[in-house]
């Protein structure tokens, strides 16, 4: 095995081009578990820890440009206003020790359907900026997840940053686990109100082969809210609308039975979370909340 320690981004891209099978190492909270357990013996480890810009972010007018290695702890502590769903999701990750190391780049790299960042990114709207020596491109988050633990990265590409749309309305994240701390999600749900475009976006975690949006549920809600003029009136949403939204969100799942839960339980839980997160967020919107729910 070889341990590569590029000192800057260009060096990292060159190393990845030369060794496409090299395993990038960010916080190591997924990679090192696999190495410790003997599940992975890469020929090269590519440590990204010396590339300062990957641990930085910038708040732009419309989006936050979040470096791939910004640890969850800093998202929780410093980006709760701009990225409420992602901050809530980051807070739900494991333990302080893990949140001090792990970040969104690694979560995207692993692309586990259970990763907590995914529902929040799907709900907020995001693009993943990836680069190789051949050039850079931005992958819409909806197209990033391609299968169970598979993503749209090409072998020579690295994730540089994630462009996450800044919240213009309340956002929520909810996670069902088997106990309170340190749990991989049985399933999870992210939701963001986008009052500017009169849309609601969602993200479902751990209830399908990939993280995904509940497209039909989103379309139904957009229609129902518009029809009744609720964005303008900020009136309460009829229970029948919330109920239908929940049913459509549950219907968007294609869950499996596994050690953490049954398919039926997951589908039911996603419906419950969809209803709750929507009603919480709508309540915050009615009370005039701008960003964080």
């Amino acid at each position: 095995m070889e341990f590569l320690r590029p000192g800057c981004w260009e060096e990292a891209l060159a190393a990845k081009a030369e060794h496409p099978a090299a395993v990038p190492l960010a916080g190591g909270t997924d990679v090192m578990v696999e190495i410790n357990l003997g599940h992975r013996r890469p020929g090269h480890l590519l440590d990204l820890g010396r590339i300062g810009e990957l641990s930085e972010w910038e708040v732009g007018e419309r989006e936050v440009r979040l470096g791939a290695c910004v640890p969850y702890a800093r998202i929780v502590g410093e980006l709760g206003r701009e990225l409420p769903a992602l901050a809530l999701a980051s807070r739900a990750v494991a333990s302080p020790q893990i949140r001090n190391r792990g970040g969104v780049g690694g979560n995207l790299g692993t692309a586990s359907p259970a990763g907590d960042a995914h529902p929040a990114l799907l709900a907020a709207g995001a693009e993943v900026e990836v680069e190789s020596v051949r050039g850079a491109r931005r992958i819409p988050i909806d197209e990033f997840y391609t299968g169970v633990k598979r993503n749209a990265l090409r072998p020579d590409e690295l994730i540089k940053r994630v462009h996450v749309v800044r919240a213009t309305g309340p956002q929520q994240f909810s996670k069902v686990g088997t106990r309170n701390a340190m749990v991989i999600a049985v399933c999870s749900f992210g939701l963001a109100l986008h009052p500017g475009s009169r849309t609601v976006r969602t993200g479902i975690g751990s209830a399908a082969p990939t993280p995904r949006r509940a497209a039909e549920a989103e379309a139904f809600l957009a229609g129902a809210l518009a029809e009744a003029g609720l964005w303008e009136s900020r009136r309460a949403v009829p229970p029948s609308v919330a109920k239908r939204f929940a049913a459509l969100a549950a219907g968007a799942c294609s869950p499996i039975d596994d050690v953490r839960g049954t398919a039926g339980h997951r589908r039911h839980a996603v419906g419950v979370m969809a209803r709750r997160t929507f009603l919480w967020a709508w309540e915050a919107y009615r009370n005039g909340a701008e960003g964080a729910a």
């Binding site: 095995m1 070889e2 341990f3 320690r5 190492l25 916080g27 190591g28 909270t29 990679v31 090192m32 578990v33 190495i35 410790n36 357990l37 013996r41 890469p42 480890l45 440590d47 820890g49 702890a73 494991a94 333990s95 302080p96 020790q97 893990i98 001090n100 190391r101 701390a181 340190m182």
Partner: protein
């Protein structure tokens, strides 16, 4: 195999013949004679290997040795000063928070970092700061007592 060098508890140390996939925990325990950080799960789940990397609490089992290069590591061995237990260690003993002691080093490092940030943590703050450290023996109540005691003593001391 590679050579890795970093500062441990204020002293510059190096280790040779380190395997590239080796963890910081292994280097500390097996190559630098610092067995205070414990090795239990090697999966980030128990916190018994908690050390500080550039001041931040992390699981040493999940840090690749090469990632610690030129950085600053603090282990439980670095808590005591001049052979005297640190206040947080004293409080753990006085509160009866140590049974088998396996979880204790990790808890001490995590608790010490909390108290450095916050000398008047609420119970919720303490629980949160220690949520990555498992203890199979004490049921946590004595550990809570110990951290409350250490906090109170720190406040008195200033």
């Amino acid at each position: 195999m590679m050579r890795v060098g970093f500062t441990v508890n204020g002293v510059r140390r190096t280790a040779d013949g380190v395997w590239e996939g080796e963890s910081l925990l292994y280097v500390l325990r097996e190559r630098m004679g610092l067995p205070g950080s414990k090795n239990a799960c090697e999966q980030g789940e128990c916190g018994s290997c908690t050390v500080r990397l550039d001041g931040v609490p992390v699981c040493a089992c999940l840090i690749a040795a090469g990632q610690a290069q030129d950085r600053e590591v603090r282990t439980v061995e670095g808590l005591a000063e001049g052979g005297e237990p640190a206040s947080v260690q004293r409080a753990f003993l006085d509160a009866g928070a140590v049974q088998c002691g396996f979880c204790t080093p990790g808890l001490l490092v995590a608790a010490d970092e909390l108290l450095e940030r916050d000398t008047a943590p609420s119970d919720a703050d303490i629980r949160e700061a220690l949520s990555g450290n498992l203890c199979r023996c004490t049921g946590y109540e004595k550990i809570m007592d110990a951290v409350r005691l250490a906090a109170a003593r720190r406040r008195e001391a200033v």
